[in-house]
Amino acid sequence: MTEGASTAGHSNGSRGFVRRVLYPVAVIVAIVAVVWWLESRDSGGSSPITGEEYGVRPLPEALAAATGGKVAAEEGALAPDFLLEAVGGGETRLSDFRGQPVILNFWATWCRPCRKEMPQLVAAYDRYREEGLVVVGLNLQEGRAVIEPFADEYGIEFPLLIDRDGEVGDEYRLLGLPTTFFIDGEGVIQSIYTGPLEDEVEGTAVQGAIGETELDRRIEEILGDG
């Protein structure tokens, strides 16, 4: 009788343990697993060199002195830093270009105004590269298979990066494509160009391309400061 009671007590204790400990732990583990899976699914990949996640990265403190260290995607602030995979291989960090004026152009192959202004960017890079100008083409959420033939055809020699999950686009508060940031040698955004919205034409939020004269004027602005 005592043995039976003991067995029953042990059985009840086991059930209680399962109900109070194992079940909640299993549920929490399942939730964490789902969240982890969703997060890893949304990740823009990571650097095979440093293991850092591609996307927006904190600006190194040594570079954050200008403008009181304010980092934001707005004129007069330091351009948010990022690390992204490059189309031709390797990876590029925006802050690596500190000391050089940078044109940061957000684009995609499907965006007609982007295609229209790309020859201008190519020509501007050819004209001003000797003066230290860097053009960074930041493709939004497309793949190498689409970008590489485009780059070959248009003769693009400046770095093309891929923002696979759109995180950098989010950080730079993109409302449409193309959008171009003109960043001086101190890493400060001198101007931002967004053309008039043309969504009724393309069915997507695309904006007009920058004009050649306007492009030159803004380049001179960042070259002068740089």
């Binding site: 995609a108 192959t109 939004l140 298979a145 003769g155 969504d199 997507t204």
Partner: protein
């Protein structure tokens, strides 16, 4: 749908002022209203009526909704149909029924009413299932809608056995000289009705989810072109490439087949290749890619800067405009010297008016000039050369005439696909800077059959030769190119890659689908349970003595069943099988 027990005759009522307070209590009044069956019927009738109006009366196309100019333009087209009623109908929202606030309010009240009904009924139904009344007063055997009596004595055990064989759950109770039996089966089937009502809520919930969460993105894609599903960027961003558009029409213009071969990319990687049609969309990751439109006149043009070798322009342009162009035949006896649609690419202003003009060369090398007034009309056909006999005739469409020994016929006017491109790359010497206006016209192409467009006709007789693209404005003279041909003008190389087709692809996601299926399942299962599960409940009294009036029957059966069941007959059958002699049946049905 429901009755209010709290205000029914049988319910206790508070007396005096407190009763009045209860009646005017707004929450109580709303509860009464929402559980009132007449209100529910009126609600559903109104909902059905306005939904019918929303189907019968033309509704503002979704693409125009929210654009007041577009809506006004669309509304003006309805004046012919609705006359003076157009404005009043618009004012009350009859041209956009399903997006009106009052329609949403109607749905909300229907949900609330149905929910209130379920909540009010559930406790009663649950109690009836789990705690049934097992002993009824003797009077019930005289009043029940389904009842049977017999003077024959039956054994309670035999009756219980008969009921058991019919899958009844049986309980016996002895009281004095009588034995009472309670039996029921499939009582859970009472939930079927609630399930059917719950389906109404699920359907309306599905409509709400669809309204709030549904996503639709129309894409107009050229062959080899790519567009994103979401404008600019999105965590679920995908790109759709149209690998091939296919359309086939019968000779009378009836579409026979539409298809779009798609490649879907996500996060830069190709994730699917599929064919999409109107009814069988591609499906990927909860999104459906429907083929919804087709356009057959597109031209892929590439412009290259010869100095750098770089492409400066690559577009597939939809030639959505039409350029009326005369089709001319010139014969020398039986010999056909010209059979061609001539593009009128030049504008000529004279004192007689403005003309569109074109030049064409006949098989023998002689050139013909064609002039036609800008607003159409007679065609002037003449040879610019002088000396000897020169052709010079004026022809209306369908006419032919003899001139210079040749027969010249203006057989018909062909609408040639064309497009004015405002920012086409032009040579510097064109005087418009790096870009300016150019007109593109594509000749010799048949709409709606890619095999013909590709020079591989099967359904129609294909036109002679491949399509040709004429560029007007890039050089002093129009430049005409066949697929693959290039022409260099002022340091730019223009290439006509070929004719291309367009497909309209509608990308949709509607997570309410699952709710619609759940709702449909609820209705079907609820109705099946209600109509086909034979829910029964009966009480039996087996008397071992007669009462004072001497008419106490030996066996009395009374029961409840859904209204569509002939339960009285079933009761008689049960009584007979139990050994009772049932001569007559009482049935209040």
């Amino acid at each position: 749908m429901a009755t209010d027990k709290t205000l029914s005759e049988g319910a206790p009522r508070p007396a005096g002022w407190s009763r009045t307070v209860n009646l005017i209590n707004p929450l109580r009044a709303v509860w009464w209203l929402f559980t009132n069956v007449r209100f529910a019927i009126v609600l559903l009738a109104v909902l059905a009526l306005v939904s019918l109006l929303g189907v019968v009366i033309p509704q503002v196309p979704s693409a125009m909704r929210g654009n007041s100019l577009a809506e006004d333009a669309w509304l003006s087209t309805k004046d012919d149909d609705f006359g003076a009623l157009t404005d009043p109908m618009d004012a009350v929202g009859l041209f956009d029924v399903f997006h009106q606030g009052w329609f949403e309010l109607l749905l909300a009240v229907t949900v609330a009413s149905t929910g209130a009904y379920i909540i009010s009924r559930f406790p009663g139904v649950w109690a009836a299932i789990t705690k049934p009344r097992k002993r009824v007063p003797d009077r019930y055997f005289d009043l029940a809608p389904h009842r049977v009596r017999s003077e024959t004595a039956v054994s309670p055990e035999r009756l219980a056995a008969v009921l058991g064989s019919k899958r009844y759950r049986v309980e016996q109770m002895a009281e004095g000289d009588s034995v009472y039996i309670f039996a029921d089966r499939f009582q859970w089937a009472q939930l079927g009705s609630l399930l059917t009502h719950a389906a109404v809520i699920v359907f309306i919930l599905a409509a709400v989810v669809s309204r709030v969460d549904a996503f639709s993105s129309p894409l107009f894609l050229a062959e080899n072109g790519t567009l994103p599903v979401f404008p600019v960027k999105n965590a679920e961003q995908m790109q759709v490439e149209l690998a091939d558009a296919y359309a086939e029409f019968a000779p009378n213009g009836q579409p026979l087949d539409y298809r779009a071969d798609l490649i879907i990319y996500k996060r830069g990687d190709e994730v699917m290749r599929c064919s999409s049609t109107v009814n069988t969309p591609c499906k990927y990751d909860g999104y459906r890619f429907y083929q919804v439109a087709y356009f057959g006149y597109g031209a892929e043009v590439v412009v290259r800067d010869m100095a750098t070798g770089n492409v400066v322009y690559r577009e597939t342009l939809p030639l959505a405009e039409r350029s009326p162009s005369p089709h001319i035949e010139v014969r020398d006896g039986d010999r056909l010297l010209l059979d061609e649609t001539v593009l009128l690419t030049d504008n000529v202003d004279t004192t007689d008016g403005a003309y569109r003009a074109g030049l064409v060369r006949m098989e023998d090398g002689r050139a013909l000039t064609l002039w036609q007034p800008e607003d159409g009309g007679e065609l002037l056909v003449f040879e610019p050369s002088t000396g000897g006999e020169a052709i010079q005739v004026t022809l209306a469409e369908g006419e032919s005439a003899e001139s210079a020994g040749l027969t010249v016929a203006y057989t018909d006017t062909v609408d040639v696909p064309a497009l004015l491109v405002e920012d086409f790359p032009l040579p510097e010497e064109a005087g418009s800077g790096a870009a300016g206006a150019a007109i593109l016209q594509m000749n010799n192409v048949v709409y709606g059959n890619e095999r013909i467009s590709d020079g591989d006709g099967a359904v129609y007789a294909p036109p002679e030769g491949p399509p040709s693209l004429t560029l007007v404005g890039v050089d002093a003279q129009p430049v005409t190119l066949e697929p693959g041909d290039s022409a260099e003008v002022g340091g730019l190389e223009y290439t006509f890659e070929g004719s291309r087709e367009f497909s309209g692809i509608d990308v949709r996601r509607d997570r309410s689908d699952i709710l619609v299926w759940i709702g449909a399942l609820c209705i079907v299962i609820g109705l099946m349970i209600t109509f086909w599960v034979p829910r029964r409940r009966l009480w039996a009294r087996i008397s071992l003595r007669r009462d004072e009036s001497g008419v106490m029957p030996a066996l009395a059966l009374a029961g409840q069943a859904p209204t569509h069941a002939n339960f009285t007959r079933e009761l008689a059958d049960i009584a007979r099988k139990a050994g009772a002699n049932v001569n007559g049946m009482e049935d209040d049905d």
